[in-house]
């Protein structure tokens, strides 16, 4: 029993540290905050739920998420991944991000198709969502 609990603990620990995206393109300089520790961004590195990315002047970063969503973060931006889950076998989807300042280009992937109501992008003045599930299901 004890070993089962320990094993479960490891499974949960492993789940919590699963990457949700990776850095596909880098032009310029940016800082990734991971577990509240900043480091210089590197092409190819994994990004996790809870991380944030802050870009310098003349910088653009391309991010590829597990569900196929793609984002380009422009210069002098802050982009926070508040909560991201892509677990299609459990039908569990979360895509909650915040853009306190700056510019992003966003192209949605499978979460936008399977659970559009789970996609939100917060900005200082409001919130952006992807439109209605029924419409989308019909389209399929």
């Amino acid at each position: 029993m004890k070993s089962l609990i320990i094993m479960l603990g490891f499974v949960l620990l492993a789940w919590g540290s699963q990457p949700v995206a990776f850095i596909k393109n880098v032009q310029g300089n940016a800082i990734v905050q991971h577990d509240n520790i900043p480091h210089a961004i590197q092409k190819g590195e994994h990004i996790f739920s809870g991380d944030s990315i802050q870009t310098a002047k003349n910088t653009t970063i391309g991010v590829s998420f597990n569900d196929g969503t793609r984002i380009a973060i422009g210069p002098e931006s802050v982009f926070i991944i508040d909560d991201y889950i892509f677990a299609p076998s459990q039908k569990d989807f979360h895509f909650n991000v915040t853009l306190p300042r700056g510019t992003i280009v966003f192209e949605s992937g499978k979460i936008g198709k399977l659970a559009p109501e789970k996609v939100t992008i917060k900005v200082p003045q409001g919130i952006i969502g992807i439109r209605g599930t029924k419409f989308i299901v019909e389209a399929e």
Partner: protein
């Protein structure tokens, strides 16, 4: 093969240096008719559903502006750098298997080199390997069979020195058929591994 439907594409721009901070949301053309966003503040919302239309937010307690049309060329020029750095669309390939086994069909064997090339052309790439089965036999066994198929593709890639630093190997068992069938039915199209290269 393009199973990843792109739902919405947009630009968000927050010119924070302006003395009155505001947010602009511009819908882009994703070459799909299913492209719309809802933009909300505390007091109201608008739907932007025409490419190159936009709305502006000035404050949480103000309505979003009415939707206006922008000049596509001007948008592409202004945001050229971000649009260029947007990662390209993921590409997906399917590999089929002999009934009840993790053995690739002859025609799928011939496609593996194409996959290896695809991965190397997209470095740094993420490779998601997803195993599937048909509904012949027990569901639990099919889960394991589909997993075995996915692992077989992974093993093949590793044997051919493909770097899999960002890969995942999963099984959907018989739960995600291309062609839905009754239980117990053998269906070649459903005995497959999907490899998504991002």
């Amino acid at each position: 093969m393009e199973p990843l439907l792109i739902w919405s594409a947009l630009i968000l721009s927050l010119p924070f240096l302006a003395h009155e901070p505001k947010t602009t949301v511009i819908l882009l053309d994703n070459e799909s008719s299913h492209n719309a966003v809802v933009v909300k503040t505390d007091v109201g919302s608008v739907i932007v559903d025409q490419p190159y239309s936009y709305t502006t937010l000035v404050a949480q307690d103000k309505q979003p502006s009415s939707v206006e049309k922008a000049d596509p060329e001007a948008i592409h020029e202004k945001y050229a750098q971000q649009l260029n750095m947007l990662p390209t669309k993921p590409v997906s390939m399917l590999f089929h298997f002999e009934p009840g086994t993790a053995d690739l069909t002859e025609s799928s064997k011939n496609q593996v080199d194409e996959l290896i090339q695809l991965i190397s052309s997209r470095e740094p790439a993420a490779v998601d390997i997803i195993g599937h089965s048909d509904r012949a036999g027990d569901a639990d066994k099919n889960y394991l069979l589909a997993l075995e198929r996915a692992k077989m593709v992974e093993k093949y890639l590793l044997e051919h020195n493909v770097k899999l630093d960002r890969s995942s190997v999963t099984s959907y068992g018989e739960n995600d058929p291309i062609i839905p069938t009754e239980d117990g039915v053998s269906e070649p199209q459903n005995r497959r591994v999907e490899v998504i290269v991002r």
